[in-house]
Symmetry: C2
Subunit: 138 residues, 2 copies
Amino acid sequence: MSAELWLQALQEHGYRLTESRRAVVEIVAASSRALTPLEVFDLARAAHSDLGLVTVYRTLEKLEELHLIQRVHQPGGCQAFLAASQGHQHLLLCQHCGQATFFEGDNLDQLFATIAQKTGYVIKDHWLQLFGLCQNCQ
Amino acid sequence: MSAELWLQALQEHGYRLTESRRAVVEIVAASSRALTPLEVFDLARAAHSDLGLVTVYRTLEKLEELHLIQRVHQPGGCQAFLAASQGHQHLLLCQHCGQATFFEGDNLDQLFATIAQKTGYVIKDHWLQLFGLCQNCQ
DNA sequence: CTCCTGATGAAAATCGTTTTCATTATAGGG
DNA sequence: CCCTATAATGAAAACGATTTTCATCAGGAG
Ligand SMILES: [Mn+2]
Ligand SMILES: [Mn+2]
Ligand SMILES: [Zn+2]
Ligand SMILES: [Zn+2]
């Protein structure tokens, strides 16, 4: 599981390994859907009942700094976090259960060239996100 | 300008035409970049000094209901609004000045078919947004 | 084991947004 | 053109999420 790797990464960057951090990391690393700070709090308290919501925020902040998690933007809100993609990948989200799946292999260079020419912009970056129904939810 | 059309649309949906609404609509309709409620408030107060921030929120809410404006998600935040695209278009944003330009003609069907096959998802919708530098900001 | 310092949780502060409410002003009917 | 019903307004209070403050605790180097 990536939880151990995340804890190791935190440690390597000079952060201490605490019970609270373990509980938060365990939950976020194991989730296949994006979780809000409050959801993480509720789930992590099962393992560590005197966890504070503040610590959830602080831990998520550090995990994001280290690029271990990323914020997920959705029609319903933009406060949820998910284990980060490795390399250049995009998200596919189930509209029913939230299941998140990364994919790669989009080749949009031709599109970018056309748009750049038509608009005069220099294209530097892009966001692509797909929404649908996962196998379980169809 | 689209401001007149927006005011007309509001009226047709049973909303009254007020000074406050005019001031808000004028600013948002004329902007080529996405504006936050507070930015709209500051700009619109030039024309209508006793405008309340609450009315900015309420007017934006109605304009969004009528699909005249849309929320714009950006790395720095997701509270800004922009005149809505007509039809299926995507956004191109200048990372320096915020200038927003819509484009169309993306053909991602092939990609969606591949992803659907690989993942088992049924693809229902997609978000695509490009970031770069506009002609003035290069 | 001890000590230093980073980390913690409770509480308070803060920020953006929404609700409440008394007052004002739009728009339709006389 | 004036009246009136009621939608709309802005100030203030309430609210929910996030951040800051601070006294206390605990990780881990020595
Ligand atoms: Mn890509
Ligand atoms: Mn498209
Ligand atoms: Zn699903
Ligand atoms: Zn620009």
